[in-house]
């Protein structure tokens, strides 16, 4: 079994509209053995009311097509909700995973930010 983790972090900020922003982290090897849990955990947060979600993938060493599929389905779900948005954090040091995101062409659907601070700034500006 590949090693992976998915976790919730405390709500760290507020958008300019006062909505809570949830930050989750996922790391390790996000393959088909992990992607269903990834999708389920993110979906649970949305069902619990989260609309602005940052997923920090700084610790992800591997992201496959099924994990990307999970992110796309979560982003699509959020985009269809009023004020919903998914931001993914993947730093420059994680260039192999970034390259897979680039090749997959998901940046039109999901904004990829290089740091958590940058993602939070984006939400604060976007409201």
């Amino acid at each position: 079994m590949g090693f992976f983790y998915i976790g919730d972090e405390a709500t760290v900020g507020k958008s300019s509209h006062g909505d809570a922003i949830a930050v989750m982290v996922a790391g390790g090897e996000l393959d088909f053995a992990a992607s269903r849990q990834l999708r389920d955990r993110l979906t649970e947060r949305i069902e619990a009311g989260t609309r602005r979600l940052i997923l920090d993938l700084s610790g992800a060493t591997f992201v496959d097509s099924t994990a990307i599929g999970a992110l796309v389905s979560v982003a699509t779900m959020l985009n269809e909700l009023d004020g919903g948005v998914l931001l993914v954090v993947c730093p420059d040091e994680n260039r192999r995973v970034l390259r897979i995101f680039e090749i997959a062409g998901i940046e039109s659907l999901i904004a990829i930010h290089r740091s958590r601070a940058e993602a939070l700034r984006e939400l604060a500006v976007a409201g």
């Binding site: 099924t66 192999r96 062409g105």
Partner: protein
């Protein structure tokens, strides 16, 4: 790059592995691909890409193909000059990658990603088996 079909043959098989068709075994497939790539002399980035593509092919075999009578998918490694080829075979009857490239279709996305990180991807559909061959050259 791309889906260029290679007609020169896959070269000599230098190793093979029978892998239980289970998601938990994907890590074994990646480590196997990484080791073979490093032993062949692929640099770390190309070895990562090969392992990525092998992972996608094995994932497709687990999700959409069928294992042999022992529950295994067959992996084999072939060397031909400067080119390393991984073959991933399952025993299902291929039913098509449709719609290829559709953003909501994992399978289509996985296949497109394979073609983008490999020098060549070949899909061989036989009677009762499906083989994906993934090739990468030393540079």
């Amino acid at each position: 790059m791309g889906t260029g079909v290679d007609h020169r043959g896959a070269g000599l098989a230098i190793d093979d592995l029978r892998l239980p068709a289970q998601p938990a075994k994907l890590r074994v497939a990646r480590e196997y691909a990484n080791r073979a790539a490093a032993a062949f002399g692929l640099d770390a980035d190309r070895a990562y890409e090969l392992a990525f593509a092998v992972n996608e092919a094995v994932t497709n075999a687990i999700r959409h193909g069928r294992p042999d009578a022992h529950g295994d998918i067959h992996l084999s490694v072939h060397a031909h000059g400067d080119r390393l080829t991984f073959a991933v075979r399952d025993y299902g009857t291929f039913s098509g990658y449709a719609p290829i490239g559709a953003l909501d279709a994992d399978r289509g996305r996985g296949f497109v990603l394979m073609t983008q990180v490999m020098d060549a991807v070949q899909l061989c559909v036989g009677a009762g088996n499906t083989t994906v061959r993934l090739s990468k050259a030393r540079v």
